[in-house]
Amino acid sequence: MTTVEEQLFMTEKEELISGSEAVAIACALADVDVITAYPIRPYDTVMQYVSQLKANGAFDCDFIVAESEHSQFEIVKHASSVGARTFCGSSGVGWFYAFEAIAVTAGLRLPVVAMVGNRALDDPGAFGVEHNDALAVRDLGWMLYWVATAQEALDMALMAWRIAEDPRAFLPMALSCDGSFLTHSQAIVNVPTQEQVNKFLPGYERGQLQLHPDNPITVAPQVNEDWLMEIRRQSNEAMSRTPGVIKEVYEEFKQVFGRGDPSPFLEEYMMDDDPDIVLMGMGTLALPVRVAIRRMREQGKKVGFVRLKFFRPFATEEVQEALGGAKAVAVIDRDYSFGSPSSGGVLFNEVRAALYPLDNRPHVVNFIAGLGGREVRVRDVEDMVDITQKAIDTGKVELECNWIGVRE
């Protein structure tokens, strides 16, 4: 039985919760003002828990069940412009249905925080994880974070409002959570106290950009070619300021809550001895990859792993530094990009582009794996390393993009 103290986050505690529940708890702790929901698996689990927390009195908010994803995102977009802290989310094609609002949210510099429960872009009704849904906003001014654990979901959600609502950024941020692996799997999570969160997360102040009768402004008048390029240039500048904001916020989070990685952008695993082969990927596939690396290390193979956490902003320098010393990099994509360079995945082509300016470029090999929620097995990872080793041995990448775990 939950005590009132626990319910109101007066004491620190451990909970066995999913990534979705963790984000819901973060919504309560962050005292979000406006939350909009519309059901689609797997993200909808977060709304289930949010509504429960509200019903139980853990926090108060305007919880609006919209009639579509499009309305869902329109509502938070407008709420954010009047100074309300907002949360929203969707999955797969639901996220795409909201695209008109999603694109404009970034253009208008509104710090909406959304959870994307990563899901295949349907047909026929597939709901396993693929990253293409969230990746679709990569060029629009959304910050994109890939979560690997329930604890990280809670922590990064709290940081998300702090980063997005920083006036230097004022950009929306999406927390990408792998369907099933994160949204439906429960783990022990340390839930901080309200007092800690209050210390870390100030209220959202939109200042001179707040739409309010006392601050009469027009937001988004119709403009033409004489104006739009300047607006895009501003958004580019805002996005280029976000790495600085993220670093500051991350350091402060570590001080207040006492946990976190050395870098907000990358999680490095077994990278201390400059391994020959570095695997790279995003989200929950970190788990089988780490296990595989431990096995291969036992066999004497020098293999490490870099998990990219922020896809946007893309930490070019950090990635160059982490991967630049390797002989070969194996990029694992839980996504596809048909007809792209080398027919590779989205992450692969981004990483390869980031490494291009280096004097000594490692080989970059791509692996498409785990689509539609298919398991990425430990032995799949071992296969990837074997293929990558061959590139080192022969001095050339035979096949740049390899599909792993697909039936012939």
């Binding site: 402004i217 501003q234 500048e237």
Partner: protein, 383 residues
């Protein structure tokens, strides 16, 4: 190597098909002479708004490569002929996209020609047209402006009459024979061919000397850069305003200093201050907040912000109290209330004569475009 560029300045939607017919026919006619051409609208004017000044262009060159050279610029920087199909735009044009006021002859090159459809004479038009430092020619095609709707086209032969006039003033573009062939090729009847030929015969032009014309500096402003614009696509509200002409009484809103809409207007309201019952409806319903409230509770239209929509006339319950008058009758945006205050008899006389004239002319206006097609066509028929 010779390239000829023609622009058609027209009122959005109402004259869209007219402008298109003209620029397309030019390219067809040039093709008859083995030349290459292209016809296009200015994309910044699309989607068009009712009555907002917009442009279409025709560019004709001797060979495809030369044509490409000219298309490498987004919009022609100068044209051989400017065709203005509504004479009220002689006062200058501003599209809906915040550019400032562009003189109607801004792109007309030295020695080029400005063709205007009008029933005013040259002196009256030149009074409106901004002066240029270089000489050009003015050619008037006697006609009332041809206004249609989005889905209908009023085939009153304005298109072919313009084409005939164009062949006359710009023989280096195409010959009348080619123009006629192009008209026939489009399946238009012989009556239209005759209209083009007659227009060719009757067209004359008059040189306009440097410095001749409207001496006013057209309003303009510097567009802000990305470092000076507000972030978040935010435009700050302007002050609320205060008393009439800075006084204690009445009310006058502060207006946007760079976004003026009066070139949209082909008619303007004229107010009878003696019969006004102060019902507030014009002030309340005006979509552009263009009425100032005078100390004595009357309503004075601010003519820099009036877009000429005619809503005030439509809602006014008093006969002839607010009347929409052909914009061509005016040469300034002065306050009617101040004119009335200065000399009430004079004002009444002036106003009455304008209203009487308007009743006879019945110039159709896009916003309340009702009937009149048959009468108008009869009037311009030159047989």
């Amino acid at each position: 190597m010779s390239t000829v560029a023609v622009e058609v300045v027209y009122r959005g939607i109402f004259q869209k098909t007219l402008a298109r017919n003209i620029v397309r026919s030019i390219v067809f006619a040039a093709r008859k002479e083995g030349k290459y051409g292209t016809a296009f609208g200015r994309y910044g004017d699309s989607p068009e708004r009712n009555g907002i000044p917009a442009k279409q262009f025709a560019i004709v060159a001797d060979d495809p490569e030369e044509l490409e050279e000219n298309l490498a610029v987004y919009e022609a920087q100068e044209v051989d002929v400017t065709i203005n199909v509504d004479d009220t735009m002689c006062k200058g044009i501003e599209s809906w996209a915040w550019y400032g006021l562009q003189p109607i002859n801004a792109l007309t090159k030295t020695g080029g020609t400005l063709i205007v459809t009008s029933r005013q004479d040259a002196d009256a038009l030149i009074e409106d047209i901004h002066q240029k430092d270089q000489p050009y020619n003015l050619s008037i095609m006697t006609s009332i402006p041809s206004f249609s709707g989005l889905w209908v086209y009023k085939d009153d032969h304005t298109d072919v009459r313009i084409l005939g006039a164009l062949a006359k003033v710009c023989p280096q573009l195409v010959s009348l024979e080619s123009m006629v062939e192009a008209i026939q090729d489009q399946g238009w009847d012989d009556l239209k061919v005759r209209s083009a030929e007659r227009s060719y015969d009757r067209t004359t032009s008059r040189p306009v000397e440097p410095g001749e014309g409207n001496q006013e500096e057209p309003f303009s402003f510097d567009l802000p850069g990305w470092t000076t614009m507000e972030e978040g696509i935010v435009i700050r509200g302007i002050e609320q305003g205060g008393g009439f002409r800075g006084g204690e009484e009445g009310y006058q809103p502060v207006r946007n200093s760079v976004f003026k809409k009066y070139s949209t207007r082909s008619m303007r309201p004229i107010v009878n201050f003696d019969t006004c019952i102060k019902c507030t409806l014009c002030w309340l319903q005006c979509p552009d907040t263009c009425f100032d409230v005078t100390p004595d509770g009357l309503y004075d239209a601010n003519l820099e912000s009036c877009c000429g929509c005619g809503v005030c006339e439509a809602v006014c319950p008093v006969a002839d109290c607010v009347t929409m008058i052909n914009e061509a009758e005016f040469n300034d945006n002065d306050s009617q209330y101040e004119m009335w205050q200065k000399d009430k008899d004079d004002y009444t006389q002036w106003m009455t004569s304008l209203i009487e004239k308007q009743k006879q002319v019945d110039r159709t206006h896009g916003f309340h475009h009702v009937g009149g097609y048959a009468e108008e066509i009869a009037e311009v028929a030159e047989d």
